[in-house]
């Protein structure tokens, strides 16, 4: 990259080069300082942990579904498309989410797996078919 073995340079050129090397030393110290902080605070551990989990997940999926590399099953990114298969955190979820949540619109408890259809109807009550185009609550 950088060629340092040049012909003898003039004193002024050498001076300019020395100034550049000073600036480069500052840049090197910046990078080293940042990496030192990351290393001592363990901030790179989260990156390592995520990489390890990804490797484990990929190995697990490859072992559970050999040859199942089609996009249809992987389109949902391991969650909705692979019902019952473990996700990137190693957790297995039921096909239909059984958690009960409260609808923020009507306040009624709704099963999470049925929340989207409920919300569609719930929000639809505000916009009756006889008044199309009105999207605000009265």
């Amino acid at each position: 990259m950088s060629s340092s073995n040049d012909a003898p340079v003039s004193p002024r050129s050498q001076l300019v080069l020395s100034c550049f090397e000073e600036l480069l030393d500052f840049a090197v110290a910046d990078v080293a300082s940042e990496c030192h902080r990351i290393a001592r605070l363990g901030l790179d551990r989260s990156v390592d942990a995520e990489e390890e989990e990804l490797r484990l997940w990929a190995a697990r999926v490859a072992g559970d579904h050999p040859g199942a590399e089609d996009g249809a099953t992987r389109a949902a990114g391991g969650g909705g498309g692979n019902k019952g298969a473990p996700d990137v955190f190693g957790q297995t979820h039921p096909a239909i989410a059984a958690d009960v949540v409260d609808c923020m619109n009507c306040g009624r408890p709704v099963v999470a797996g049925r929340f989207a259809p409920h919300l569609e109807k719930c929000m639809g009550k505000v916009n009756p078919p006889s008044v199309p185009g009105i999207c605000y609550r009265r």
């Binding site: 990259m1 950088s2 060629s3 340092s4 002024r12 050498q14 001076l15 300019v16 080069l17 020395s18 100034c19 550049f20 090397e21 000073e22 600036l23 480069l24 030393d25 500052f26 840049a27 090197v28 110290a29 910046d30 990078v31 080293a32 300082s33 940042e34 990496c35 030192h36 290393a39 001592r40 363990g42 790179d44």
Partner: protein
């Protein structure tokens, strides 16, 4: 060459170099604010060409090898300085040298 090289911490060693010619002109860069502008340009170019990523990878590899709690800032500087100096692209170096030369030539003391 400046007798004070290598310089692990430029700012700290700058005070010791005020007596020599490099220190004098480098102080001119600092006082005029040109040093900050040059540093900004240098950082930008080094990021663009991947130099910074390479240096961070070296630091990370060294920290893993030595242990995160055992690595010191001086260790990292000494590890990456030789490779860092040698791996700066010629185009980046040429651009910075030209900028420095232009500034120094514009100085009435040059």
């Amino acid at each position: 060459a400046c007798p004070h090289r290598p310089c692990p911490r430029g700012a700290a060693n700058l005070r010791s170099r005020t007596g020599c010619e490099v220190g004098f002109w480098f102080l001119k860069l600092v006082e005029s604010g040109e040093k900050e502008r040059l540093m900004e340009l240098l950082r930008e170019r080094l990021v663009e060409c991947g130099w910074r990523d390479d240096m961070k990878a070296l630091c990370r590899a060294y920290a893993r090898k030595k242990g995160r709690n055992n690595v010191t800032l001086d260790d990292l500087i000494h590890v990456i300085t030789p490779k860092g100096r040698a791996s700066v692209p010629d185009a980046v170096k040429a651009e910075l040298l030209q900028r420095i030369r232009s500034f120094l030539m514009s100085s009435s003391l040059w």
